[in-house]
Amino acid sequence: MKKTLCFVCILSMLFVTLASCSSEPAKKLYVYNWGEYISDGEDGSFDVNAEFEKKYGIEVVYDTYDNNEAMYAKLKGGGVNYDIVIPSDYMIERMISEDMLEKIDFSNIPNYSNISEKYLNQPYDPNNEYSVPYNVGMVGLIYNTKYVSPAPTSWEALWDANYSGKTLMFANPRDAFAIAQSILGIDYNTTAEADWNAAAEKLKAQKSIKPSYVNDEVFNKMESGEAYLAPYYAGDFLSMVSVNPDLAFVYPSEGVNYFVDAACILKGSKNKESAVLYINFLLEEETALANAEYICYASPNTKVINNTEYTYYQNEILYPTQDKQPKTQIFTNLPQPSLDLMNSLWDSVKSE
């Protein structure tokens, strides 16, 4: 008897919880972003997601990824229901071409006018229908002035035998190939097989000086002086140099990759209205400024760029003046055969 009673109790409790779930759906928004890519309230900074929840009563479910390809693989693998993702340029182009993104309803994003004209009409989204720029930036060469002299000006420094075993390299093929392509004067978005082969040969030649292929370990290794040279993003250099002041940064003369990471709404999103509110919220002056301070990447938001209180106001690395502007190229979505070729060449570089 006691057992039956107990069972009935549990059953009824279950029904109550189920019923409450269905009658009053809590508003949720699923956001999928790069790791360490939002101001999260650490050290008293502005907590973007918490503030959004407070303002709109929508719960933000937040997940992170480390690179575009991992994000793409996870979305393609299915079983996830994110509303917002923040991919880079070439990946946005790919996702548009594969019908993975929803057109954004800009009428509810009044803050869109904060985005600098410079970052509109980009090749990956020529009519500005699918994406709202979040951060922009460039790749450059970070080096430790204590060990590296004379100051490098070329990507060739990453092939310099003097720094054998002390050089880092991108662990993802697209960025690694871009460096070799810069040196060889090849377009980053080439589809010619010979171009990719030549760049792969250049990357194989680098193996004699024993580079380490790293992702986020670049922070530890450069800050501690374990490694002397690394290609990485300008914004990240600013956070590294605040730990180790011996570090310096240069945009190599051969040219560098320029990228835009932009917020997009995924096809099939069940919370489109909340997603639009969130994107608008990201563009607000307070949010954008907090993010720019926290992430250290260049902001496309005029309210940040023109704010004299901003730590990196007119910073010459993030916002180089016209005469100091390096040569840049943006990645575009490669056709599948070129992607396959690049990936298999990368495997052969790594297996040597």
Binding site: N172, Y213, K221, S224, N343, S344, S351, E352
Partner: protein, 276 residues
């Protein structure tokens, strides 16, 4: 009566059967399916043909795995033997100490080795204070093998130890009574009787060593790619499930072959009749 109990047995087993079907057989099926199809789902042998580009990586993975397994065995066997001969308290403490690191995640432990082995790491800092070194240890093949040994050594010690503690002491005494010296007791009685533990230890070290993917990235600086790294990259980076699956399939077959060869060896050694 007989039927009722077998029905009961089947009922009890059914969750396990369902589990195995869902999480072992079905994934295997997918691996085979992906290995022999292209991105569009049509049958192809291209993924299998592409494997010839990866011979070097396979050879490296197996070599590293073998070296790690042999070193683990050389360390673990004497250790397990001495331990099994020690007092109960010593045994309990030592086993606890062996298990202790396993309570921490293996990724974190591997990451810590990076901090130890670096040129500016702890070991070189201490050696530097003593006026020795620095020694370049990180980002070498040796560091990768060290990582394997460190991570998988307990899996060699534990099975050998557990079989040695269950060893019938009267057999050893009998050998001694019959005039066998200490060396011969170990060689002719202890080692043959502990072979099942050795074989399961070898399996439990060799298989994860050959297929590991994290250790080589962190301790090898990404310059000593193993087959596990390459497979991971196909799924995470290249979004090429088909090539990833065919690499996995070959890895599975290779491991099975290695295991079969090894079992054959131990069978011959012992004159057959080994249970594992």
């Amino acid at each position: 009566m007989q039927q009722r109990s077998s029905l009961k047995a089947r009922l009890i087993a059914s969750p396990y059967v369902a589990w195995s079907a869902l999480f072992i057989v079905a994934p295997m099926f997918f691996v085979v399916y992906y290995a022999f199809t292209d991105a569009a789902g049509a049958f192809t042998l291209a993924n299998i043909k592409a494997l010839s580009n990866y011979t070097e990586i396979f050879v490296r993975s197996i070599t590293f795995g073998l070296i790690a397994t042999v070193i683990c065995l050389l360390i673990a066997y004497p250790f397990a033997y001495i331990l099994s001969q020690s007092g109960a308290n010593v045994q309990r403490t030592m086993i606890l100490l062996i298990m202790l690191p396993m309570w921490m995640n293996f990724l974190i432990r591997t990451y810590s080795w990076m901090a130890l082995l670096q040129d500016t790491g702890l070991i070189n800092a201490i050696l530097g204070k003593l006026g020795i070194g620095p020694f370049h240890m990180i980002n070498t093949g040796g560091a990768v093998i060290l990582g394997m040994i460190y991570n998988f050594l307990p899996y060699m010690i534990l099975p050998i130890y557990s079989i040695l503690t269950k060893l019938d002491r009267s057999l050893i005494e009998a050998a001694e009574d019959l005039g066998s010296n200490r060396f011969n007791v170990i060689k002719k009685v202890v080692i043959p009787l502990s072979m099942p533990g050795v074989v399961s230890g070898i399996t439990m070290v060799f298989v994860p060593s050959v297929s590991t993917f994290y250790i080589s990235q962190k301790l090898g600086g990404g310059a000593f790619d193993l087959i596990g790294d390459t497979i991971e990259r196909q799924f995470q980076q290249a979004y090429n499930y088909n090539l990833g699956a065919s690499l996995s399939l070959v890895l599975m077959v290779l491991i099975l072959v290695c295991m079969a060869v090894m079992h054959r060896f131990t069978d011959n050694d012992e004159g057959g009749g080994m249970v594992i």
